[in-house]
Structures are given as structure tokens and as C-alpha cells.
Symmetry: C2
Subunit: 204 residues, 2 copies
């Protein structure tokens, strides 16, 4: 078991995977389960995950991800989708929180009203929210994978329209990121240097 | 030290903070340092963090975040910004990776060219990327805070235009999220229930 700081610092985007070591369905489900503990506005959980595992599905994704070999070699490539149309989602997503007694009816009603007021007729905010939620889940998934001794790589190099069509995404589903996950192959880069904190942080 | 799975599952968005326990500048810098280990496309590192700590800065942010008490009570509220205009950023962000010998000159040139080709004249992709990168960093920061025994809360309830103006953000800086961080106050919610994995995952 590593400390979270060690995990965060040791994670690096991996290009090379061992194609002979698949993940089980249980392992894939476990990664997604952990990813869904990421926070979302109003606990919307406006995301969906497609795990591309089979040879057939990989062959379909490969050219849509610009022939990146890791899509074929990694055990799984997750298509991490953010969902638009949050005004329809909010009540169903939040209901279990009400039922569990964590929030009361007044808070539930207030949040549902607030979310509907914010998102309705605001496609730009809906898109922002889809990308935010999917990205929060994506980061959680990558750290969870790292903790299990796996490597991963987030990818924006794909044709979102073609991916949406090929994998049957709904109109309200935005493919925000692909993430390859698997056992490391022969040669992966170490973590890349980051800018000094002083360059990116202001304390006021 | 917790396992990452325990950390992920125990993190909950916190509304209540102990205002008597400030974080040091070192602690704040450490959280941001860890956050910057999040991945970005082409290692762009297209982010900036403003740590709102002083009474004066908190008083300025408070009304712009719709009078949410936690902005006053938490030790710090981070304004997590994503940066647009990546075509100017890419070479400077990636140069240390070349200098460290992690990638060679041909890869460097290829990435810079690819990034400039993708982002230039594409404000929608630039905005998506700003939100993606800032959100990946935000999730890393929240998990790092959790590991240090702190609590946090991501917030989209603020006026982005007013925050940008009040805190002097540049034209290319998008305030993607606020994150309050501090020691827990009296009464915080437990983690809210999530949808079952079967509802959000398809394996193909």
C-alpha cells in the first residue's frame, strides 16, 4: 500500500501495455465503482463508462483513436462520458440521498429546483458540467488503478463524433476522455516534470 | 495512512469547517504541488490556483459565491482555473520534459505541432481542455487533502465573471471550480449514495 502522495507522484501516463494480462470483469467494475465516488454538483452523477475490452470492440475503437497502439494492447479502454440534460437527471440521482436520510425533503426540493434553474436552457453550462464530472471520475479511476499496480493513460486523441456513433452514445452523452488501463509493458516514460508551484499558485 | 480505496470512499463534500484551524502556506503549497501531478494533454499544465486565505480575500469572495458560509469558515478556498490559449502554452510547458531527456526533439516538435493544430482557432476545444485539466487537478487536490485529515468541497455555486474580475484573472483563465479545504467542523454529511455500477457501466 502506498501513501496517496506517493501514488500521485508516481503515476505517469503509460504508452506501453502488456497485452497478455487482461483484467477481469470484477476488476473493471471495481475501478468504475471507485470512480463513481468522485463528487458531482448536486450529486448528479452525470456520467457513464464504456469499458472497451473485447478484440472486436478494440478493433472498432482503434482507428477512431488515430491508430494508437495502446488501445489494442491495454486490457481495457474506458470511454468516460459526461451526461448533458441534467434537469432530467437530478431528481433520480439525488433521491437515494433523500431516502438514506442524509438530506431532508426541503434540501432535496431546494437542490432539484436549483439544479433545474441553473442547467435548463444553458447548454454551455451543461457541457461544462459533463466535462467536469467525467474528469473528476477519470482522475479517481486513474489513481485507483495506480494503487492496484496498473498503469493508465488519459487520451483526448480520438474522434468524438465517430466514437459516439460507433458505441451508440445517446444525444446527451459526451465522450470526454478515453483512459487505457492495464499492466505495464516494457518501456514507459517516468512522470514528466511539472512547473514549480510558485509559477502556478497565488496566495491571497 | 489509508488505502486509496478507503480515501476515495470516505471523502465527502464538507459544508462545515473549523475556522480556528488555519493551514500554513507550506500546507497549501503542498496540496497544490500534489494537484499539479495530475495529467494534462501534452503535459500542458494549463492551470492556475488562487488560494483565498486572508480575511480580506474571503470577504471579497463570499458574496460572489452566493454567501456560502464555508468560504468564510474553511482555511482556504482554492479558485482552480483552467487556461485557454494552449497554442502559446505548449512549448513552454513541455520544454522541461525535453530537457530532462524524457522525450526527444522529434517527439517534442511533434507534440507542439499537434497541440497547436488541435487548439488553434478552436475555442470550444480550448474551453473543454481548460475544464478537463482543472478538474483532474481538483480531484487530485481533494484526495490529497483527505489523506492529510482535511475535508474539502468542490463548488460551482459562484459567479464566474465576478470572480474573474475580483481576483484579476486573465482573459485566458477560466475559473472552473472553487474548492474549500480545512479542518472539519461540527457536523458534516457522510458520503452520499451512488448509483449501482451496473447502471453506469457497459462492458463491450
Amino acid at each position: 500500500m502506498s501513501s496517496i502522495a506517493e501514488l500521485i507522484k508516481s503515476r505517469a501516463s503509460a504508452n506501453s501495455y502488456d497485452p497478455s494480462k487482461p483484467l477481469t470483469r470484477y476488476e473493471i467494475g471495481d475501478l468504475v465503482e471507485l470512480a463513481t465516488h468522485a463528487p458531482t454538483a448536486f450529486n448528479l452523477q452525470n456520467w457513464r463508462f464504456i469499458a472497451v475490452c473485447s478484440d472486436e470492440a478494440k478493433a472498432k475503437l482503434f482507428p477512431l483513436a488515430y491508430n494508437q497502439q495502446k488501445v489494442l494492447d491495454a486490457s481495457v479502454t474506458f470511454i468516460v462520458c459526461g451526461l448533458l440534460g441534467e434537469d432530467a437527471l437530478i431528481a433520480s440521482s439525488l433521491k437515494p440521498t433523500l431516502d438514506a436520510g442524509i438530506i431532508d425533503q426541503a434540501t432535496f426540493d431546494g437542490w432539484v429546483g436549483a439544479a433545474q434553474g441553473m442547467y435548463k436552457g444553458n447548454p454551455s453550462l451543461q457541457r461544462d458540467e459533463a466535462i467536469r464530472s467525467a474528469s473528476l471520475a477519470a482522475m479517481t479511476l486513474m489513481l485507483a488503478a495506480q494503487d492496484k499496480g496498473l498503469v493508465s493513460c488519459p487520451m483526448i486523441g480520438f474522434n468524438p463524433t465517430a466514437v459516439a456513433q460507433a458505441f451508440g452514445l445517446g444525444d446527451g452523452e459526451v465522450p470526454v476522455m478515453l483512459i487505457t488501463v492495464g499492466h505495464t509493458g516494457g518501456a514507459n516514460w517516468p512522470p514528466k516534470p511539472r512547473k514549480p508551484v510558485a509559477e502556478v499558485l497565488a496566495v491571497v
